[in-house]
Amino acid sequence: MKKESWSWGGIPKASHQVVNLRWRTDTINFAGFTASCLPYGLGRSYGDVPINDEGILVRTTALDRVIAFDAETGVLHCEAGISLGDILRVVVPRGWFLPVTPGTQFVTLGGAIANDVHGKNHHCAGTFGCHVLGFELLRSSGEKLWCTPTEHADYFAATIAGLGLTGLILTAKIQLTKIAANKIDVNNQAFNGLDEGLDLFEQHEDTTYTVAWVDCLTRGAQLGRGIFSGGEFSQTESRKNLATKRLAVPLDFPSFSLNKYSVQAFNNLYFANGKRKSGRGVTDYEPFFYPLDKVHAWNRIYGRKGFYQYQCCVPFGEANEGREAIREMLNQISLSGNASFLAVLKVFGDKQSPGMLSFPEKGITLALDFPNWGDKTQRLFDRLDAIVREQNGKNYPAKDACMKAADFQQQYPQWEAFAKFIDPKFSSSFWRRVTQENA
């Protein structure tokens, strides 16, 4: 295959052999594979989690069939390659919604489980894995395991957030959430600093969906200014599913187009606009949950060198050290001038995921995009990593391309227990990277 970029961030480059899976009843000849394999869906993971350099990717996106949908109970059983967007097209008109959704619809059901994704409602609903009723896991031995919290419970726990390493998820059954309308009552509030922003999360603890965009190029008192957004599904509007028009980024942008100044200008505009539009309103669910999906292939804005995403979470700490840590990270980013215009702040709740390697933990999470500026970006990550380490925080594998093996092993102490569930024929570039060195 000619394609080089298999991850959303475009880093690292890798070459693969691709096997397309068309029918869940087909037999895969794992024994005939000459290299290790990894399931591959829509490739929205950012770093090397979806990559298996020199290996085989088993592409699952043609496994996108519904098996059963009970519109009374909201239980949906699908093949694992179906996208979340496709699920919504089926269930929204009938009054149901995904229990948890990440910021893009272009994620497969299997990918959502394997990365145990979270959304704006983590403080209320936990991760995606909390709503999985069961799934069928195909091992390279040919054995198919139906895993639930009680049946093959060990494989259930290992596969949720298991990064596709425990086998191939063929089908999955999830519990959806009832909605009365497809509109969101939204409440936007501008805040002038990090403390003010985090206070807003506290005040809106009972709001189902909360998230904030942060301007990370400001300094001093304005450090961490941003726009807080809270939302609830509307009780009154119709539930007709509206198709929205998509824009596309046709080419990779030249690398000079994203710099400190252009991003600063963008951030100033975005903040001013958000401030002006502060207050209550009603919006369709798509722009609320998936603002970036409107711009197809937006990753190309970062050009051919690609970009990194950095997402971490840090616990609050007994004396609010978590807040200070986030402040220090924003400070470091602002000082570095490395442009990130997608900085997202969110507070995680304490609902435990069943997944062994699940990322979210009660505390504050910050997600940022960084264009690839080589060593300069790496040095910034080193500084951010140090802060995360100090706070006993964690990095998010689904978005990672850089974390040190020692950090991973520290942050995910169950990794060795997890390793026992890895299918002997499965591997990924990420896994090799973070387990090669011992802590």
Partner: protein, 248 residues
Amino acid sequence: MNVLILGATSAIAQAVARQFLLSATTPVKFVLVGRNDDKLALIAEDLIGRSATAAHVQVQDLTQLDAMDACISRAWETLGSIDVALIAHGTLPEQREIEKSWELTEQALRENALSHMALMEALALRMEAIKRGTIAVIGSVAGDRGRQSNYIYGAAKGATAIYAQGLRNRLTKSGVHLLTIKPGFVDTPMTESIAKKGLLWASPEQVAQDIVKAVQKKRNVIYTPGFWWLIMTIVKSVPEFIFKKLSM
């Protein structure tokens, strides 16, 4: 709305069936015809899950020309009547291999032309009698001009298009709609062995949206995606004395 899909396991057919459900304002019932019982069952399940009120499976080898009339008759009975029939089966033979064998050539023509003609005829008879209905048949841009790289496939698709054109002429007075669909490169299992993917390649979903829109608007002939109309207009206008020297 009662929909019959012939060659229901093809990627385009599956996408079209789903698109009918997404755009339907009335309940949709399907009969799905194909060779593979197991695969048809998976598709039926999917369509029911996506809100179809019924999805019946009918196992049939669509190259048995003598059986086509009975095949349509059975589907018609199952559904009560047929509003839309999509003829979507086909194969993409390897030109270099089959040009040496009349047996394989004949088979390719049966799979990609004669079978479609027999089905169109059987559907036309019944729809003419009730003076309504739509027959949509999938041809190909390859049928617009013969090229050394796939002229047997192209001849079959061209024959289907001419047959459909004549039949459309006949059906007009009874109000029956016949749509000829000419897709370009579509990323499906049929084209999996062709490695090149690029700007000209479309997904089955894109093509399905065009097809359902064309059924609703009662179009006669469509190219999908639409830019193929321009490409083929140019390809068709190249004088033969030049065209024959091109390596296409």
